[in-house]
């Protein structure tokens, strides 16, 4: 893992939250991931994402996962209307 300051870790948490909301239908209840009561949903979404991209499936936002999340991509809307 790259050494990260608390500031970069905070940014990472926000990035993971936003990514899972955008592409994995994670509901935003206004709280950050680390403060959510139910961590298992985030872990499951992360595992789903890691499996899709052929990453090591850990359920943790490790360096490889963060790297893939930072890449530009297409966002297909969920519904047509």
């Amino acid at each position: 893992f790259p050494a990260g300051t608390s500031e970069t870790q905070e940014r990472d948490v926000e990035m993971v939250q936003k990514y899972l909301e955008n592409y994995y239908n994670l509901k935003n209840d206004g709280k950050k991931i680390v403060k959510q009561k139910n961590q298992s949903l985030v872990v499951e979404k992360l595992k789903e994402m890691q499996k899709f991209f052929g990453l090591k499936v850990t359920g943790m936002p490790d360096a490889d996962t963060l790297n893939v999340m930072q890449q530009a991509r297409c966002g297909v809307p969920d519904v047509a209307e």
């Binding site: 893939v68 297409c74 297909v76």
Partner: protein, 367 residues
């Protein structure tokens, strides 16, 4: 490939499109060309046709917009999401939106409009994101100068609309699977303590102490390299990797391509004109001698003197007994040479000139 939920598809094969507005990043003609080429990729492999219209409602409406553009899927400024498209259907169905906060290009720089449009139109036709990294429908942006549908994309569109009427069935490249026991390699090299295997458009990277092989496009690291490399080797003394295809070669330090390449193998290394390409190459970091394998012969080049050693070529079978008459790829690790031919790998001790072990070619991938 993955189809969209409910398998939405157009109920006809002749579709229209309209470009509602143009990005200022490119001349209009370039935008028209990118969009037309993107549609052609899909029409070439299916019964679909696409006709451009200039007014009214088209099946696929194309626009460049930024931020919240009132479709419940706001864009997010530069980077992040580049574009999106809606599944087949009336009104907004099929429409493709490109984020105007991105810089749209017609070359390798971020972000190539043709590449992104080709992906979005896949959604417009009913395809969801594929898990095949070589597919155009893979969700993350990756550019190579030969934008093409993979076999996975072709299978997907034909599952929806049937085969092309072309008498020669169109085919696309398959993505190499690291754990396929039939996998062979174009070239292999060490690079800064790691191993890189090359196959078609892809590299497979073995990183020490990391259990999984990393696979991606060669162009991700070196956008200017051609695909289908034939040989590669590292000169550790110079922190330089050289890549060969045909009678040309390129050099890189890490991710940076060195200036002044490609160069000619005849003038640079002294190969005779009859040598048209290199099968495999490896440089012995102890001696500074580089071995070039061409058909059933090999040459030896001195990296210090920068000249070919006299007395070459010699027969591979004579000096590397047991590895056969042809080499696909070779690299050196811990003093041993690892030769690859077809699906086989030979660990060779250059001191005793003996083969120490025989393995599958993909044995480095922890399959």
């Amino acid at each position: 490939y993955v189809l969209m939920e409910g398998n939405p598809r157009w109920d006809r094969t002749h579709l229209t499109y309209r470009i509602e507005n143009y990005t200022p990043d490119l001349p209009r003609a370039e935008v028209d060309d990118a969009i037309e080429k993107a549609f052609k990729l899909w029409s070439d492999v299916s019964p679909l046709t696409f006709t451009k219209v200039f007014e009214g409602q088209a099946d696929i409406m194309i626009s460049f917009v930024r931020g919240d553009h009132r479709d419940n899927s706001p864009f997010d400024g530069p980077g992040g999401t580049l574009a999106h498209a809606f599944q087949p259907g009336p009104y907004i169905g099929g429409d493709a939106h490109f984020d105007e906060d991105e810089r749209w290009t017609n070359d390798f720089k971020d972000f190539n409009l043709y590449r992104v449009a080709a992906h979005e139109f896949g959604h417009s036709l009913g395809l969801a994101h594929s898990t095949d990294i070589g597919a155009l429908m893979y969700p993350n942006y990756q550019y190579s100068d030969d934008v093409q549908l993979s076999q996975d994309d072709i299978d997907g569109i034909q599952a929806l609309y049937g085969p092309s009427s072309n008498p020669v069935p169109p085919t696309g490249p398959q993505t190499p699977q690291p754990c396929d026991s039939k996998l062979t390699f174009d070239a292999i090299t060490t690079i800064r303590g790691e191993l890189m295997f090359f196959k078609d458009r892809f590299y497979m990277r073995v990183i020490p102490r990391y259990p999984q092989v990393e696979q991606n496009f060669i162009s991700l690291f070196w956008p200017n390299l051609p695909t289908g490399l034939q040989a590669a080797y590292e000169v550790t003394e110079r922190d330089e990797v050289r890549f060969f295809k045909g009678d040309k070669y390129w050099a890189a330090q890490g991710q940076d391509m060195l200036y002044g390449y490609p160069r000619d193998i005849h003038r640079s290394f002294g190969f005779p004109r009859a040598v048209r390409s290199i099968d495999a190459a490896v440089s012995d970091e102890q001696t500074g001698k580089t071995y070039f394998f061409v058909a059933n012969q090999y040459w030896r080049y001195d990296e210090y003197k920068q000249s070919m050693d006299p007395g070459y070529p010699k027969m591979i079978a004579a000096d590397f007994p047991g590895i056969g008459n042809k080499v696909d790829a070779v690299f050196q690790k811990d003093g041993f040479f690892y030769f690859f031919h077809g699906t086989r790998q030979y660990k060779f001790d250059p001191t005793t000139k003996r083969i120490l072990s025989l393995d599958k070619a993909n044995s480095w991938f922890n399959c």
